[in-house]
Symmetry: D2
């Protein structure tokens, strides 16, 4: 009788997620893996190395006795922001490093993936490591979304406007009206609950008191935002935060990211190349400042993250990261983990705004209505959009 | 029978507050009125002119038909941030303007004060203007506190360490222990209530749900903060926000503002000159980043502004502006006023943290436990301190 | 018979020059003494203190045994760039110092002037100190010219355009044509010769070989420069150095300094207030980049400093500092003095261009046709002009 | 009888020079072609494209009627600084462009090279185009030297210190003493003379008058420079220009570029990897500021470019670009060509210092003793060295 290889389900999940990162990069030229046009955008090869380094550093090195480090200098190159783990290439320098080469990094991935398979099937594996593994896989998924937004930035800021892949970023018509959903004053509970994975910043689940509020069923469309633009929204300080108004003027902002007015027509760079702006599509690539100014022009406001979470079962979400008017702060009872993984979220809890939902760039299986994404209010290279409240 | 002059109580209050600004400036040399060593610190003569401009622009010009503007160019010089009111000298340029001279500005004050007296006693005065007048007086009181912190910065950054006035900033011993006050989970109400004056950002009064929390009865002292410093608090990234850690390193921060280690002894610039740091005094002049790092080192946290307000009747406050871990955001139901006065608070509601309480620099009658002060997290020239929570 | 006090001629010369600095400042308000709107412009009170510090530091302290320093901290405040003499307030911070006050500085001047008188009449005085004294007096005269250009900058950048003094910067008509003077190829000698004072950078006198050249008898007028402006000179890169073209675009330069186009008419801030541009007056306040672009537009060039010096006896000069196309470099045989006075000139011999002549702001008795003035090519707050060559 | 293909000698020279650029890049990984770690260093792929663009733009397009542009957008990408030719990618952005890819650029080169062959053999070719061709070939040779210095910078600033090629940058022992060669006062002629190619900045040949001078036969060695370092040369302001001293302190400069003190031993990155500093090798990679400070420490000076050119037949040169104390300025009689090629040199004649000689990175046949190289005084990534004078 023949013995059959049974792939451990954890190994399978590990391998699928790891493979997906590489699939995202398949359409790239080698040159596309290397550049870093702004500090927030990392070179794709850096993402591929950094996610690998995470498994090597936090799982293999401390837990797999026979493991030999692939290259001791890679820690310096691929550490992102973990001060606990030692010196690192400063973020603005990532795009200056031509080496390790892309093929070196794929070799690094293969090496670590093979060792991970051996490790996951070994007796060294245990439950507490499984928790860390899950964090590593969710971490890789976060970088998959960053890979897509960073690739879009790299190609979309090239004067040749190269196509990444045909027929993606489908410009589906949005059905639905501007209907407002109403919620009544009272105590609600928010925060993650259940047995699956969540990030530390989604805890503890806790009660909040909300006033009566209304929230729109649909996201703002390009057509609606164009009305704001045409009504002079970018030229009227009254709609803007003081910081937002400075940002508009210092950067001469006139439109969402990737929009180009060519011969009087608004064009939009998508991963399938330059297209005409589709008025019915959900608006994308705006900063918090723009989201907030738009809401103010509509005499409305952005929802708080608590309102959003409470209302979320009643509307469709997942196409755009939705700016809320909540600053990124710890929930009551939030506890930073000890050690390097404790640097994951807590230390960013100042000067950023919360986004809720998910986007077309978010990998499958990586979204929850308790998920708290966060960025500085001026950033707009993520797939961000607007839902109104009042 | 002789007629007696009765001073209108509003005129009296107006004159007292106006006079107090000038009393604050009495110890200054003319040169001290002029400089602006950093963008956040305005020249004292600018404060004196700007507060006057407020009454001229928002009360006299629109409401007092016979009023003649003192000098039409002053609008350009003394507008602070009111975009509605037209062009203004950019903030970083205030310290480059030697004119209007100090005596010109005092003439401007006298002129406006006389007209205000006539106006307040005239039939043009009415209730809705009284509201605006009250805003103007509170505005002037805010600038009185800024005058003190700005004067301290100007003199305290002069290599000659000049004395402003002897025997102020009294270094009283603090009595009291590190006792924690406990509060139970439940619904509380916060926000201004009553008939007196409050700023728009203190409204609407609303319910919040708080978890169990504890808050310390006393503020952190210099002695306690020195323990953090001596334990290497400024060298250990684990206690800091990522932005805070960058701030520490880029600015080589090693201590609170105005502290100088001279021959191994910590000295502190006060408005009465350089003194030895008093270990029992409440710590002063620290940034939000430092407050938060200190709390983290103590394995505690800063209170939220809701916790602070709920607990405030149970402790003494008023010596230091106390950093909270709340971002400056609108309350539920917050409504921006139309027109220029609507620019007062709302447009700053991003990228700043809330401070609660008041300080030794706050004018009498200008503090409430619903008052929401706010600054960027790196700023430390205000009289700021730390109260812990958990 | 009555004894008469004979004032030593050196004392007389010392006192006259010292007094002249104070006379320049007489029309100022105290506030005008304090500000530093750009790094190149020092506060007038700093000039008054710094020139005094020069005599105290280089003459009195080392040579007058009984001399007691006025205030030991002043060295820190008033040292300009002498690294030999210790720490100093960095140049950008001068405008942040309200103290020492203006009256303190006048007291400092009086104190040092009295001691200098005693010293100059004492037996401690000798020939080598006389040389140093002469340097100190020429140094003070250089600062007299800076006082005038800095005062013009301070008042001319104030939105109120204050008048310094009526009827100065007389706008005399310029007579004279665009006649070119011709000089023949051959060996010439340049550099200082004779027994009076000169700066070290004017030595050694040396031979140079010049090709045939022509140089214009008159300076470029406002009218001529307006033709360049109206011909689009500021918009056409062909006339500009690459660095100059960047400078024009980054700073949006459109005209000489102090020119304002008000209701279609070119106005010019003078020390007597805002006046209409006089077309026949010699152009003033242009950078090397502008001078060079203008010459290029005329299909001419700027003279070298050698050509200028050789030709100078044949034309009138002294109204404008004339940009040459010579970089500021040492003459053959230039020797840096040992010690702090050796820092006077040599260390600036890179990245600057030479100006020759003198200006209406130069004090009497402080000009020679061998004098080498020098500034960075973008600076234009001195009284600079253009003489053409080919 | 068989006809034989005779390759036109101009075609042969064209092809050899074009091929050499590609040979320089052969050892590179594709990733190495892409990055731009500092503004002065261009991505190798940019050099390959830009030199090709030069032939396409200045020779083929205007002169070869049948020529079809390879890609009209390449003008935007590969224009370096020719304002005449239209918009261009700003220099700091070159390293952000992943496209055109390396293989696209090699296709571009092949396409243009084939067309150039056809053109050079056609009747459209004539003498005035031959002059332009020669300029294009010399231009490509200049970029060959830049390719080498830029590749060294890219690899030498990678934490992995990759090897470009083994056994290059041979560290030959230098024979020769510190002998000074003496030259007598008098008239000399400098500037290009003869019938071959030279750049416009080498003209006109003209007479100069030089004083007696001495110049060293050999270049400064690493050993000699180490003595300066060990004597505290980088810590003593007396040897430095004021701008140089600021540069040292702002950038914390402690050694030549590519030097690393590892465990107390000075190591040096070469294109063959990290090696121990060879004391007998000629010093390399220093800025003008360092060259000048070293000379000052030796109580000597740098030669002027005139002295260098006069003395050059009497010493060996060609290993290092030698900083002179001459600013880059036009020779008497210099004439800027009309049109875009006139932008080649003249517009850079301010704020730069002249280097004379050539270096181990200079291509064969691209050096003359009248050649005037020029860079800003702080730059040190070229193969620069020091020859002393007095």
């Amino acid at each position: 009788m023949e013995s059959q290889t049974i792939i451990h389900p954890l190994v399978k999940r590990f391998q699928e997620i790891r493979k997906h990162s590489e699939e995202i990069c398949k359409p790239l030229e080698i040159e596309d893996y290397v550049v870093q046009p702004i500090v927030d955008v990392s070179p794709p090869k850096w993402h591929l190395g950094h996610t690998t380094w995470f498994f090597e550093t936090f799982i293999l090195i401390p837990n797999f006795p026979s493991y030999e480090v692939f290259d001791p200098q890679y820690n310096f190159v691929f550490n992102s922001y973990y001060e606990t783990i030692g010196a690192r290439v400063i973020r603005t320098d990532r795009g200056n490093l031509s080496r390790p080469s892309v093929s070196d990094i794929y070799r690094y991935r293969n090496y670590v993936d093979e060792k991970m398979k051996l490790f996951l099937e070994s007796d060294f594996m245990n439950d507490s490591i499984a928790t860390l593994l899950e964090l590593g896989l969710n971490h890789e998924q976060q970088h998959q979304e960053l890979l897509i937004s960073d690739i879009k930035y790299i190609l979309g800021h090239n004067p040749l406007f190269p196509v990444y892949k045909d027929n993606i970023e489908l410009q589906e018509k949005t059905s639905g009206s501007n209907k407002m959903l109403r919620f009544s004053e009272g105590i609600y509970e928010i925060g993650f609950e259940g047995s699956g994975f969540c990030f530390d910043n989604e805890l503890a689940r806790h009660k909040v008191y909300l006033n009566d509020f209304e929230i729109s069923e649909c996201l703002v469309t390009n057509k609606e935002y164009l009305e704001f633009m045409e009504a002079g929204g970018y030229e009227d300080f009254r709609y803007w935060h003081a910081d937002g108004w400075n940002w508009v003027n210092e950067n001469n902002v006139k439109s969402p990211l990737y929009w180009h007015n060519i011969d009087g027509k608004w064009m939009y760079y998508t991963l399938s190349g330059l297209k005409e702006v589709n008025p019915n599509e959900e608006l994308c690539h705006i900063s918090f400042y723009e989201a907030s100014a738009y809401a103010s022009w509509k005499d409305m406001r952005l929802p708080t993250e608590e309102e959003w979470e409470v209302a979320s079962p009643h509307f469709q979400w997942g196409k755009r990261w939705e700016w809320t008017n909540s600053a990124y702060l710890p929930y009551p009872g939030f506890k930073k983990e000890p050690g390097a993984v404790g640097e994951y979220n807590g230390k960013f809890m100042v000067n950023q705004m919360v986004l809720r939902g998910a986007s077309t760039a978010t990998p499958n299986g990586h979204s929850r209505n308790t998920y708290r994404n966060f960025f500085q209010p001026a950033l707009k290279w993520q797939f961000t959009g607007i839902r109104l409240a009042k």
